[in-house]
């Protein structure tokens, strides 16, 4: 009787699957990218920056004028042949702006990269070793932090001459200090985590624990700090060039171009407007990216 099939119905399998999570497993960076993408300001910043980088890298190859090529057409306004006009020596301003962007971006990115490497190493070691070593290392950092960097960057520039190299040296003397402090606090707070202990019991050396396990967990705040440091470095370079301490002729950064145009500002305002608008756009884009990145990396910190 009970074996009669009409008393039994097969279980509806679909109910079993109702708690199945259909979303694909996302990696951390995938999530970050999704959050970053949903931030309109940050996305616009990224696109603008990529366009500018593309322009600065590829532009000069298509430009018919060399950046230091002088001509007889002096102080021309913007036209079809010279998009941004020419300067007092007849050099094509558009080409010079493109090279200026190259230098500004190069200074910003490379100095930040160097600072990050030094800062992570220094802060990581100080936090990991701890004790007296840490105290001594951090005192040194405190001293460097308190001395206004711009003042001795100017002195270094006078000593080594006005070129990209000496600007980099100047910015890297103390630029790593912020990153080092951040890395140190991160390492100290990560020290007691279970996975660190697990790595230790498995026989991982200090270098592996520090740079593989701890660094990958400390990366978010450091990345945010780094994206903030890039526009600051560009800012500083433009500032130094503007007060006459920057890249020397015939090379020119955006700041130098603005400085050159200062004399003729009243007569040929376009020579001033082109480079300074470009500086603003770059810093603007970078600031938006860093804002978006800090929200994407740490959603609890959304503003």
């Amino acid at each position: 009787m009970l074996q009669k099939s009409e008393f039994f119905k097969p279980i509806d399998k679909s109910e079993q699957d109702s708690e199945f999570i259909a979303m694909e497993p996302h990696s951390f960076w995938h999530d970050v990218w999704d959050r970053f993408r949903s931030n309109r300001r940050a996305l616009i910043g990224l696109i603008v920056l990529l366009l500018i980088v593309l322009l600065a890298v590829l532009g000069p190859f298509f430009s018919p004028y060399p950046y230091d090529g002088m001509g007889t057409e002096v102080n021309r306004g913007p036209s079809g042949t010279h998009w941004f006009g020419t300067d007092a020596l007849g050099r094509d301003l558009f080409t010079r702006v493109l090279y200026g962007i190259r230098i500004s971006l190069f200074v910003g990115f490379v100095s930040t990269l160097i600072n990050c490497v030094i800062g992570v190493l220094y802060g990581g070691v100080a936090g990991y070793v701890g004790g007296r070593t840490d105290a001594a290392m951090m005192r040194f950092v405190d001293v460097l932090y308190a001395v206004p960097s711009l003042l001795y960057i100017i002195l270094l520039m006078m000593l080594f001459g006005a070129n990209v190299g000496s600007i980099m040296v100047g910015m890297c003397v103390s630029g790593w200090v912020g990153i080092a402090r951040l890395m140190r606090t991160q390492v100290i707070s990560l020290k007691g985590r279970e996975y660190v202990l697990a790595a230790y019991t498995e026989g991982a050396g200090p270098a592996r624990i520090l740079f593989k396990h701890m660094f990958s967990n400390a990366m978010s705040p450091i990345l945010v700090q780094a994206t903030l440091a890039i526009p600051q470095a560009i800012f500083q370079e433009a500032f130094l060039s503007f007060i006459g301490m920057g890249i020397s002729a015939p090379q020119a950064s955006l700041g130098t171009l603005a400085q050159d145009a200062r004399m003729y500002m009243a007569i040929y305002p376009h020579q001033m407007i082109c480079p300074i608008v470009m500086i603003c756009i770059i810093i603007f884009a970078l600031n938006f990216i860093s804002e978006g990145l800090s929200e994407a990396l740490d959603p609890t910190n959304s503003r």
């Binding site: 308190a146 206004p148 003042l151 100017i154 002195l155 500032f239 301490m245 500086i279």
Partner: protein
């Protein structure tokens, strides 16, 4: 508390010494004698160097320099005879200080108001524009702003004087150029700390007690939200000083910043050295004061900072 203050003061002294040492050695490493020009005879050069004490061994020069610094003597200009760095500071610093304080006070008031507006507005559109605006103004370097102001109001519309003459109208552009960045920065800072303070239990409590909206905003929230501002006052002053370099040279204001830029361009090493030490000292002292003020206002700080 006393221990923290003593420690912090000792740090300040060490930092100052570090700054002086670096500045001295970097300046001495600069190539060439400060008096070397094409048409100078070796004997005159030697006499000049002896006159300024440059013939002595360099470590002895350093000791002499330190001694004169302790007496408050920052050195003499090598390119302009008879001009001492102290004179330049006495002439230029009051002007710079006045400009810096006016713009900083304006930035503090406007920045705080905008910051509160950002946090209390119910409209997300307004908030979005305010945040975009603050990012925009943080992205504009001071010299760019100064130039744009000069082009638009000075040369274009001709409503404000291009040259600085100390009148009220001539103050407007430099003050604006110096104040915009701190306004943006302060407003973001106030926004962050105000939003945090807004959600604290004591605010809910105050509201539950039936206190007025303004009273809660000013007395309960703002008072606590202002704390982080004290910490940034030091760096802000440093920013105002470096900002004054360009703003003063663009608007030809006879301040210490313009003096610095001029001496950089004329390679007047001793003036650069003296001004660097003076400005660095001002920045170090303001940082020190803002840290101490912070520790006094908020006793929690010394515990984790002194470690």
């Amino acid at each position: 508390m006393l221990k923290y203050i003593v420690k912090r003061l000792a740090m300040g002294v060490v930092t100052m010494f570090f700054l002086i040492t670096i500045t001295f050695w970097l300046t001495r490493l600069m190539p060439g004698s400060p008096f070397a020009t094409d048409n100078i005879s070796p004997s005159v050069l030697a006499a000049l160097e002896a006159n300024y004490g440059l013939d002595k061994p360099i470590d002895q020069q350093f000791v002499i320099y330190l001694q004169s610094l302790l007496q408050g003597n920052l050195g003499v200009s090598y390119t302009r005879t008879g001009v001492t760095v102290n004179d330049l500071i006495a002439q230029g610093f009051p002007v710079t200080l006045k400009l810096g304080l006016i713009s900083f006070a304006i930035a503090l008031v406007i920045g705080t108001v905008i910051g509160i507006w950002m946090s209390t507005t119910k409209s997300s559109a307004v908030k979005g524009w305010l945040i975009t605006g603050s990012t925009l103004f943080i992205s504009i370097p001071g010299f760019v702003l100064a130039i744009v102001l000069l082009m638009v109001f000075g040369q274009g519309l001709k409503v404000l004087p291009v040259l600085f003459d100390g009148s009220f109208l001539s103050y407007i552009m430099p003050v604006l150029a110096l104040a915009v960045y701190p306004i943006a920065q302060i407003s973001r800072l106030v926004h962050a700390s105000y939003t945090e303070a807004m959600n604290q239990d004591y605010v809910v409590m105050a509201r539950a007690k039936g206190l007025g909206k303004r009273r809660i905003q000013l007395l309960h929230i703002l008072k606590n939200a202002m704390l982080p501002l004290i910490t940034v006052c030091g760096p802000m002053i440093a920013f105002q000083i470096t900002g004054s370099f360009v703003v003063e040279s663009i608007f030809t204001i006879p301040g210490i910043g313009e003096e610095f830029v001029n001496s950089v361009n004329s390679r007047d090493y001793t003036v650069i050295m003296g001004l660097t030490i003076f400005l660095g000292g001002v920045i170090i002292i303001t940082n020190l004061l803002s840290d101490l003020a912070c520790a006094l206002v908020d006793p929690r700080i010394k515990l984790d900072k002194a470690s």
